[in-house]
């Protein structure tokens, strides 16, 4: 088979991509600049009303919340993720990928289900407290609906996305470099900071973006674990579409899209392998 036939094989996907990914983006751009009821063409007209909504205090708060929660959960995920990745990297397990798979395992269950379950044990009187009370331990924490709950949810969900790229970057560091560092008079601590850490930075950048982006744009976790008390930009988008305000929803989606594209640009500059993880 020659190259051309192979190219033909890709065509169904290419058309799919044009029709269901690229076209909707243009539709969203179009919707952002008009005023309409849903996608109804009657009474549609050019309008910058959606842009005016951007300066509404509630939108600004949502954006601020989004960035704050995304930032904090990224920092926590990176710190914890680095420790875990480094521990696996240094361990003498024969099958390190098995360990990694076990860490990723929760990702294979449905996000909503997982988040609901997490929310459940964050409330008073759940199955865990019930079990514990039978053994005589009374422990009950009700944090659902607090910022802490949302943060725990975000870190819990996106931590695997931090571990994987950091681990991949660490695994690429040749052991001879560590030996060279020791040979040149570095102590173990210095070796880490001067050789291992700088060489794993690529993975850290990828990890940061992989955690930051979904935390920034997601809406299920703050909705469920925040009980609606904490509104992120994802929730505003969801609400806009639900209230038939496609114009405002589209505008916000496009703003998020710009952030994502910018991040991909950063990754492609720093970490070639990280791209594939996105």
């Amino acid at each position: 088979m020659n190259n051309k036939s192979f190219r033909n094989l890709a065509k169904p996907y290419v058309y799919w991509l044009y029709l269901l990914a690229l076209l909707p983006v243009f539709v969203m751009v179009f919707l952002a600049f008009v005023k309409s009821e849903g996608i109804a063409f009657d009474e549609m007209g050019f309008s910058l009303e959606s842009f005016a909504l951007l300066t509404e205090p509630s939108t600004i708060v949502a954006f601020r919340n989004s960035f704050f929660y995304a930032f904090v959960s990224t920092v926590f995920s990176l710190v914890i993720g680095y420790f875990v990745a480094y521990r696996i990297f240094k361990s003498k397990f024969n099958n390190k990928f098995l360990v990694l798979t076990m860490l990723i395992l929760p990702m294979w269950s449905n996000l909503l289900l997982r988040t609901e379950a997490l929310g459940n044990i964050m409330e008073h009187n759940n199955i865990l407290t019930d079990l514990l009370s039978r053994t005589g331990i009374t422990l009950s924490i009700g944090i659902k609906g607090t910022p802490l709950a949302v943060l725990i949810g975000l870190v819990f969900t996106y931590l695997p996305f931090a571990i994987l790229p950091i681990y991949t970057a660490l695994e690429k560091i040749s052991y001879s470099l560590e030996e060279a560092a020791l040979d040149l008079g570095l102590t173990e601590t210095k070796k880490f900071w001067k050789v291992i850490f700088p060489l794993s930075l690529k993975g850290v950048v990828s990890a940061a973006i992989l955690v930051f982006l979904p935390s920034l744009s997601g809406f299920a976790i703050p909705q469920i674990l925040g009980k609606g008390n904490i509104v992120l930009i994802g929730n505003v988008i969801e609400e806009s579409f639900r209230n038939m305000n496609y114009n405002f929803g589209s505008l916000l989606s496009i703003i998020i899209l710009v952030f994502i594209l910018g991040s991909i640009l950063i990754i492609s500059k720093t970490d070639k392998e990280g791209e594939t993880l996105l």
Partner: protein, 383 residues
């Protein structure tokens, strides 16, 4: 002049699981010596080097440097630097930062001692023309010194002007030189080289061999070199240690090992040679291939079976009348300076080097001078 022992391995044994890699090895290495550990892969030479460098711990035995036992000391506490086989250059640093890496990461107290505290303070005083010297000035001066030393080291390996290059922009030979500069800039007492030339092409390798030897003479550092290439070992070493299965087979100057190998293994490993089973008839007379040859300087029991080593260049091609051995040329390969002949004598193929040209199928006569005949004891496992 009595040579000073700088490093001594005393009954060192190293096992990986149950495999004995280095077996009760004892070795003394002198100051300013270029010593080569030579052997095929798996003979324990690299493991020996790594134990000296502190990357592996010996299961038993002592490693003594300058009279002190160094068994438990980590690599950074040893007056030793290593040039790794893979070079192990830091990809996130440029050339000069790679070279300066070791010194850059030493504590200030070490650096002041390294460069001479007095000297640094005096230099600053001279420059600033003031009597007080601040800590910041010292730090600055030491930093200057580190980069000056690094540049000098780069100059020494002929890489001047490459300072700001990235490691990935260098060729294999250049990377090898950076690795060398990175080690020697620390002025170690001992430099370990783990097959550093293995990845280079022939021409470059030969050049580097001379340069390494020259550098060792200039710097006055003890070089411990590991290789499986006997030619490399011959060219550079003051002494060669031939190893096999974690044991030292023979140790001595290149000349000594080449001319008087102790057994078949060493003879085979060092250069091309013809090894023929023979019988020590009586003093100064040995019989092989059915002919009696005179020899000198060997003591064996009469009638003892021995291995006879004759180097290809030690055969003299003579006219058939005076020849001790007569044979037919079965192949002739032009090697530049000489021709490498294979001569079939009584069903035994002998390798003969000669400057003359002979045709395949031509009968020729061979002769060996008594002092060119080297006899070896037949070791038990070879009989």
């Amino acid at each position: 002049m009595e040579k000073k022992v700088i490093i001594e391995l005393s009954h060192v044994t190293k096992k990986f699981d149950d495999d004995i890699i280095v077996n009760d090895l004892s070795l003394q290495i002198f100051e300013n010596e270029f010593i080569t550990l030579l052997g095929p892969s798996g003979c324990g030479k690299t493991t020996t080097l790594r134990m000296i460098g502190g990357f592996e711990k010996a299961n038993s035995g002592d490693i003594i440097i300058n009279g002190k036992i160094f068994n438990e000391l980590p690599p950074y506490a040893r007056p030793i630097n290593t040039v790794f086989q893979s070079y192990a250059l830091f990809p996130h640093l440029n050339v000069v930062d790679n070279v300066a890496f070791g010194l850059n990461n030493r504590p200030m107290s070490y650096l002041l001692h390294f460069f001479g505290e007095e000297k640094i303070i005096n230099e600053i005083k001279l420059e600033t023309k003031s009597e007080t010297v601040s800590k910041k000035q010292i730090k600055q001066k030491v930093n200057e010194k580190i980069y000056l030393a690094s540049k000098e080291a780069l100059q020494m390996v002929s890489l001047k002007g490459f300072e700001t290059r990235k490691i990935t922009q260098l060729s294999g030979g250049q990377q090898q030189r950076v690795a060398l500069a990175r080690a020697i800039v620390n002025k170690p007492q001992i430099l370990l080289l783990d097959e550093p030339l293995a990845a280079l092409d022939l021409k470059l390798r030969q050049n580097m061999q001379y340069e390494l030897k020259e550098m060792q003479r200039k710097l006055g550092i003890t070089f411990i070199f590991v290789t499986h290439d006997q030619e490399e070992a011959m060219t550079m070493s003051d002494r060669i240690v031939v190893m096999k299965n974690g044991l030292i087979e023979q140790m001595g100057t290149p000349k000594h090992i080449y001319n008087e190998p102790v057994n078949r293994y060493v003879a085979n490993f060092i250069g091309e040679s013809n090894i023929i089973r023979g019988t020590y008839v009586k003093k100064d007379l040995v019989n092989f291939m059915g002919v009696d040859f005179e020899c000198t300087g060997y003591k064996f029991a009469n009638k003892e079976v021995v291995d006879v080593v004759i180097r290809p260049e030690d055969f003299d091609v003579v006219s058939l009348e005076v020849a001790k051995l007569k044979g037919i040329v079965t192949s002739s390969i032009f090697k530049g300076v000489h021709n490498e002949l294979t001569v079939l004598v009584d069903g035994v193929e002998l390798m003969v080097n000669t400057y003359e040209t002979y045709q395949v199928g031509e009968p020729i006569g061979l002769k060996v001078d008594p002092y060119e005949i080297h006899l070896m004891k037949v070791t038990a496992n070879e009989q």
